[in-house]
């Protein structure tokens, strides 16, 4: 059974070289698990090394579980664009895999749903209130409707108790 590299085995150090992680792991007996390189890069929060290592993997031969694991590691490494690409590729290859479908859906590029919604004139009135009264309510949560203060509270949870309906009401913390 192949043994995954342990942190102490590979004597991990943050290094400036993007090729450092594969070089470190080449010295180990378990270099064949290329996802382990991703795991090391993710542990180090080394986005650059993660991206480099991910590029060197032949993803066409990988299982659905590998894709899902790689997406999770990419997110942990801060390699968010890689996470999006891997999730999309994995979801295309494994259309019946629920976790990959969910990952691909959540990480997909933003999509315009409706582009013809009516304007909301009350935005200006609420902003005017905030311009005028921000100093008095600094640090508090407020609910505004058409430029009128409905409720102010120390926390959003307290505010929630007083709001039966949140339609057409601006809820924000005053900074």
């Amino acid at each position: 059974m192949r043994r995954l590299p342990q942190k102490e085995d590979v004597r991990l150090q943050r290094t400036p070289s993007v090729s450092a992680l594969p070089a470190i792991l080449e010295t180990r007996e378990d270099q064949g698990d290329s996802l382990a390189i991703l795991e090391v890069a993710a542990d180090l929060r080394d986005e650059t090394a993660f991206v480099q290592a991910a590029r060197e993997i032949d993803w066409s031969q990988r299982s659905a579980a590998d894709f899902a694991r790689a997406v999770r590691l990419a997110l942990a490494a801060g390699a968010h664009l890689v996470a999006r690409h891997l999730a999309a590729q994995g979801a295309r290859l494994y259309s019946e895999h629920p976790e990959l479908q969910k990952m691909a859906h959540i990480l997909a590029p933003p999509r315009v749903v409706k582009a013809d919604l009516p304007p909301v004139p009350s935005v200006r009135a609420n902003q005017d209130w905030l311009r005028t009264h921000a100093g008095e309510y600094k640090g508090q949560w407020v609910a505004l409707q058409n430029g009128v203060l409905l409720v102010a509270a120390a926390t959003a949870s307290e505010l929630k108790i007083h709001l039966e309906n949140k339609d057409h009401i601006l809820v924000t913390k005053v900074f």
Partner: protein
Amino acid sequence: MLLSFEDGRSFAQGACTFLYRPATEEDVTPRIIVAVQIEGLQTETVVDTGGIYLVCAPEIADLLNVDPTRGLGTAELNIRGITASGSLHRLSLTLLAEQGQSLELEATAFVPRLQPNEPWKLPSFMGLMGCLERLRFAVDPATDTFYFGALDGGD
């Protein structure tokens, strides 16, 4: 008046005024703050083209009853120098127009996970990747107007 290209195609379909002030109590640099709806709840967000995703303040996520177990569980994000862990979700975000038409999109949203009694001192943010990246947008600092529009062909 909304913006258009030379050939008459519209660049922006909607416009709203923005607040230009620091985004937090500690912040000293003014930010562009616009009113939006997240999952139907009207709130404010900071335009942050150096950031990624829609960062949904945990208090807002709580008001919306966003269930962390329905998102992708473990993600880390550096937000204005603060490293936060949390979950990723697909949320509806509507840019609210005062002139023209409002625009609703689906965006990737990051919801920070807080420890019990841990305070969150930041507002919500609209980052580029995962949020604003498929929109046209422009700012007129003379009138504090934020213009936005869908790309031709929807998304």
